[in-house]
Symmetry: C2
Amino acid sequence: MEQSQQKGRASIAPAQPVYIKDAATVVGKMEGEGPLAEYFDMICDTDKFGEETWEAAESRMQREAAALVLGKTDLGAADIRYIFAGDLLGQNIATSFGLMDYEIPLFGLYGACSTLGEGMSLATMCLAGGFAKRAMVVTSSHFASAEKNFRFPVEYANQRPLSATWTVTGSGAYILTTEQTAVRITGVTTGKIMDYGVRDAQNMGAAMAPAAMDLIKTHLQDFGRKPTEYDRIVTGDLGTVGQEILIRLLQEEGIDISDRHEDCGIRIFDSEAQGTQAGGSGCGCSAVTLAAWYLPRLISGEYRRILFVPTGALLSQVSFNEGQNVPGIAHGIVLEHVDEEA
Amino acid sequence: MEQSQQKGRASIAPAQPVYIKDAATVVGKMEGEGPLAEYFDMICDTDKFGEETWEAAESRMQREAAALVLGKTDLGAADIRYIFAGDLLGQNIATSFGLMDYEIPLFGLYGACSTLGEGMSLATMCLAGGFAKRAMVVTSSHFASAEKNFRFPVEYANQRPLSATWTVTGSGAYILTTEQTAVRITGVTTGKIMDYGVRDAQNMGAAMAPAAMDLIKTHLQDFGRKPTEYDRIVTGDLGTVGQEILIRLLQEEGIDISDRHEDCGIRIFDSEAQGTQAGGSGCGCSAVTLAAWYLPRLISGEYRRILFVPTGALLSQVSFNEGQNVPGIAHGIVLEHVDEEA
């Protein structure tokens, strides 16, 4: 294969086209009361999804999202060669118990809240490399399982600072394919771990903004582009605090994205009405917002090209308790509208 | 790219060759007193590796293993395009804090003890697809951090049943390359999650054996081969209990591997002398044993072809406490000796 698929230091531009066939979303009660309510495929009014535990509820969301996207695309599990999937819980248990029944070869991923980007990156390589015709990418997060996993069980009713983000209860499932559709993945930039010395597990936006800055800067260098060549540059879950930091950090590098930056975490909630502080977060946040809000606009051609940059904060309860910093990572995906005659 | 790189239902046979350039191993005290002692690159006599916590010690092992393999191959971090890495701890913290300083684009993986196979699978697709010339695959496990994460803190001094495996303190780092070396990766088979209803977190061999069975059966079908076409079929950490189950399950399928099956977990310790019950386990077990024992024999040509099948048990402390089963997953890699004139 030609090495020309490599772009710069950390990017690829697949010579063999890879497309998004479709996506499906499952969300919880609060997401279903937010501004994107009408665009989600399934809203559960209890957040338990009929299960006994928060973890089982999260698994159920992944299972339902996968079932919905298979239904939408009229495909069966046997038509999907690989699943790339992950969640935020220790040992990826939402994924393992959620996707087991499909009996599809699976690559388990952990990129914190950047996992959808990581999964799309690897699925793109897999398809563009000729190793599959179709792959599924699934991620999820759940407010209650994440709070228990990372901070305090919800039942403690602890107070939350204004910088805190609100973990989205949701799962998004995507089918990537080598057959032409209206949305093509034309570039992938892979992030490295960035540690800016943030130690506050309640301020994830600050922890992740440097990783997003580095990713966007590297991406623009690798492709030789300016921010104006993208209709939108969309981060995953920096929230309002992280957005401010990201824009400032990039300005220090001579890059201005202030007129075209958006964040899935800001878009998914009405933070004033819903009391979600700095915005939504979690693996599920960018997964459901990309599918519900941005994908239809790429399909219609309203957006010709966006850079999607989900970011992850790399911490665990153990690393936090042991006084470690919270480093970040980001993964970048270029999504472009494809004209029908193309 | 030609779709002919796909083999059967769950395998690939890369048309563009991918090779193992070299590997490096770092292990703890007990591994350094076992039968493979003389083949490891670095043995630490305290298991703390100069750090304050078990988790930081595990990170340090990854950092050292990566440094050693870069040193052996005379490469710098800038020569490695991607790292594929993971560990057993919640949120992959050993990996995040261990590999951060290299500033290499990173894909975080979670496949429990199968992660080395998962990483080699994805790195093979990445290189064979033309997306990089070199990638590193790193995994680790640490007895003390794993016991704390999955079962009981070591300080509790709980008794261990005979079926229990002993988590290996060790990290292995591999460099994969498109330049010819003596060992080529000629096949990859990707596992799906298998749940045989095992609920005992102290009996990982039983939980993982069905996944190994399914992987080996699928692999042989996909490639149209018999077990006798492999010098060895090597699982990661089934231990003695899991080995028995695997051989029996495959016999029920009409496949006999009893004369050529080996297990890294059985090989790494002298279980009678070292009191390690059923054998070694963990992401680090197969990573250091493949590098220390099997790789030199593939380089020399003593083994012409082996099937390497690390297996993972998909549980967390939370899933175990909530009464979930322990499903398993396996990833298969075909490693072949390359004659110099080839």
